[in-house]
């Protein structure tokens, strides 16, 4: 009832400013209702969850990766693994359409799509000894599906890392404070790694506490450094050198042993993430800030400055994480099922975990929309769209009906301890400004610059962890593939193979990062939608596998549970790929943009610095087009393969058998570790 009232509240208050509490209330009620009814119905009637059945953790218990674990602990691990920077960036970018489309998609997409995907994948993988999505695709659909899932995963990883690297670079550009703080996180992580491994082995909490204190000191230290005229110049860098640093760092981090950098930084980023999310929730509930962004802006027509493209399908593409994220299927199959002590916990961990991630996305949406729309667009619009000079930018943004002045922007930049906030694309700076203003008004405005750089540091440490972990995963996959050609290359601990495969993966994402940095339109407008398409296609692959299994196990009348979100994802990804290929709008279509640039280059109207990079940009646009087409082809191959299997099954022809492990009664006591 409260949920209906809150959604109604949002609806009634259209046209005037509304309070963010409506969002929080509406979201929590939607999740609660969906969890209590829809998720419970799926678990008991569609999946037929069986609490008496022994889980892989119980049957194959080996004391480390297979191990029955308390459900709250599993929930914690699962959530820490699925929640990355995605749900923070996507909603910030999609806020250019206004608050309404993004918020509705986050809520509806999560409860009907994303949460369902996570839960059914977790269930099916649990019934198959924790097998991965790729293995399930191969077992249930055939070799084609398995290969497609593997290749799609690796490409998504590359695009994801490139776009996240770009977000960090844009946050550090010409900001000595941010750059020095982010740089300091590297030795801090190494120190924590050394502490946990050699000084006090295995004392994870002590080590993490030490690290968190040092990180906070690093934020304060960055503020001090920013006021040293000589020292600050060392960290006052252009985008391109920063990109090279990120690439070099990514390579170094990927070939170093995990204990040195990746593992300790993962602990730190997990604590930072949980702490910041809790703090942000408390601050929003306490301050109840007003939403200043309109419900819908004129940019639903596709002319938006942050990324080009109409509301449909791009609002649904840009917000992938937080509504439906295919990547989760990789966590929900593989790691988490090996820890479940009882099938009954699948609803809470699979469905509940994703609902919580969706809630994080709602808060990112609030943090973006409490800013003055003029300020929001000034921070997020690339110089290539609104102009390099501050005067031009404010004139252009004000002409859209979102008034903003140069004085307002320079005062804000000064408050945040930055030299300028114009054209800080990528979402991180505007999220940090939003968070800093919420924190500042809740916990004292004197420290607002500290809050801003704390938020930047928090996002950066988060992203660097994903960058390192993603490169490593990409490396494993590549080694797996290369091992088929020359078995020696498949040995994951053979150093030459590590160097070679890490080098290939880093150059792949490094290339896209480099192009993103030299692109005068900011790069985010190309890379983020491409990432969204890839992630949604992976989600569609996971739902395809799930739908195929449902139909094969004779549950045709319930197949709509995964079939409907699947159809929706097929529609949005296919139409997004179509627009990206065929749209005549040069800000949307890759090919028309390439043609446009070629014509301009040939006619010699480009200024020399643009003409120099134009051939690279043209090649990149064509490559992006090929990539988008390839993603769509992958999707359709799997969809058709799934349909083929289903039709064969329904007409009683032989299909690959269900690979479910046989039923075995649980020996664990009912009340086992329940609290």
């Amino acid at each position: 009832m409260l949920g209906a009232a809150a959604v109604g509240g949002i609806a009634l208050n259209r046209g005037e400013s509304i309070n963010s509490m409506w969002f929080i209330t509406a979201a929590l009620c939607v999740y609660a209702i969906a969890y209590r009814f829809y998720a419970a119905w799926i678990a008991s009637k569609v999946l037929l969850v069986d609490p008496t059945r022994a889980t892989p953790a119980e049957r194959l218990n080996n004391g480390h990766d297979f191990m029955p674990t308390n459900r709250w602990i599993v929930f914690g691990h699962h959530f820490a693994a699925i929640a990355g920077p995605g749900p923070l960036v996507g909603p910030t970018l999609a806020a250019q359409f206004g608050y309404l489309p993004g918020t509705l998609w986050i809520l509806v997409g999560a409860v009907l799509g994303g949460c369902v995907q996570d839960m059914v994948t977790l269930f099916f993988s649990t019934r198959r000894n924790g097998r991965s999505l790729g293995q399930m695709a191969r077992d249930e659909l055939g070799a084609v599906g398995g290969v497609a899932a593997l290749v799609a995963t690796m490409l998504i990883m590359i695009i994801l890392i490139a776009v996240l690297g770009l977000v960090v670079v844009n946050a550090m550009k010409h900001s000595p404070w941010a750059t020095s703080t982010v740089a300091a996180t590297i030795p801090i992580a190494m120190l924590v790694g050394l502490y946990m491994r050699n000084i006090r082995p295995g004392r994870v909490l002590e080590g993490s506490l030490l690290g968190v204190v040092l990180l906070l000191l690093a934020v304060a230290g960055g503020g001090w450094l920013d006021h040293q005229p000589l020292l600050r110049e060392w960290f006052n860098l252009e985008g391109l050198p920063l990109a090279w640093f990120v690439i070099a760092y990514g390579f170094a981090a990927a070939i170093l042993p995990v204990w040195m950098l990746l593992a300790p930084r993962d602990y730190l980023s997990t604590y930072m993430k949980l702490g910041t999310i809790v703090l942000l929730t408390v601050a929003i509930i306490w301050m109840q800030p007003m939403i200043k962004m309109p419900a819908l802006t004129q940019f639903t027509d596709g002319s938006g400055p942050i990324f080009g493209g109409k509301l449909f399908p791009f609002a649904f593409i840009v917000i992938a994480c937080g509504a439906a994220s295919g990547f989760h299927a990789l966590i929900a199959s593989g790691t988490t099922p090996k820890l479940l002590s009882n099938e009954r916990d699948i609803r809470m961990i699979g469905y509940g975990g994703m609902a919580l991630e969706s809630f994080v996305a709602i808060m990112a949406m609030i943090a973006a929309t409490v800013l003055d729309p003029g300020v929001f667009f000034a921070i997020n619009s690339p110089a290539g769209v609104v102009g390099k000079e501050a005067v031009d930018a404010v004139a252009k943004i004000s002409s859209w009906g979102f008034p903003v002045t140069v004085e307002q922007m320079s005062l804000l930049a000064q408050q945040m301890g930055e030299s300028t906030l114009f054209a800080r694309t990528g979402g991180a700076p505007s999220l940090a400004v939003g968070m800093a203003s919420i924190f500042g008004s809740a916990f004292g405005s004197g420290l607002i610059a500290m809050w801003y750089h704390f938020a930047i540091m928090f996002e950066a440490i988060f992203i660097l962890t994903t960058l390192d972990a993603g490169t490593r995963v990409g490396r494993f996959m590549l080694q797996d593939i290369l091992g088929n050609i020359w078995p020696k290359l498949g040995e994951t601990s053979w150093y030459p193979s590590i160097l070679l495969s890490s080098g290939i993966i880093v150059s792949a994402w490094g290339y896209f990062l480099y192009i993103g940095v030299i692109d005068p339109n900011g790069g985010i407008n190309i890379l983020w939608p491409l990432f969204g398409i890839a992630n949604q296609i992976l989600a569609a692959i996971a739902l395809c596998v799930a739908t195929g299994i449902l139909i094969k196990s004779g549950k045709l009348k319930h197949a709509w549970v995964t079939g409907l979100p699947l159809i929706w994802l097929i529609i949005i990804t296919t139409s997004a790929v179509w627009e990206k290929l065929a749209s005549p709008d040069i800000r949307v279509g890759f090919l028309s943009a390439a043609d446009d640039l070629t014509t301009k280059l040939a006619s010699g109207i480009l200024p020399p610095e643009k003409a120099a990079v134009a051939p690279t940009l043209i090649f990149n646009l064509q490559l992006d087009a090929a990539l988008a087409l390839f993603f769509a082809a992958m999707l359709w191959i799997i969809v058709l393969d799934m349909l083929r299997i289903c039709i064969r099954h329904l007409s009683n022809k032989p299909v690959p058998p269900l690979s479910e492990t046989p039923h075995q009664i649980t020996q664990l006591e009912e009340a086992w570790q329940r609290d």
């Binding site: 082995p201 593992a263 602990y267």
Partner: protein, 63 residues
């Protein structure tokens, strides 16, 4: 009253330790003593290294 609060706090602390993996070594020793009583346990340092290597041998992080 005080003991109940104490008990609550103790359980919360236990939860935090388990969630962070701080008590992983103790849990490992317990598992070993129950299931493989004759096996020689790894040292704390060896165990930590093995676990960390194991943990990062697959997909552990998402977007």
């Amino acid at each position: 009253m005080a003991t109940r609060l104490n008990e609550r706090l103790r359980r919360l602390w236990q939860m935090i330790r388990e969630l962070s993996g701080d008590d992983a070594y103790e849990r490992y020793l317990t598992h070993l003593s129950i299931c493989h009583a004759d096996a020689e346990p790894l040292s704390r340092k060896e165990f930590f290294q093995r676990e960390q290597h194991q943990k990062w041998n697959g997909i552990r992080r998402c977007c």
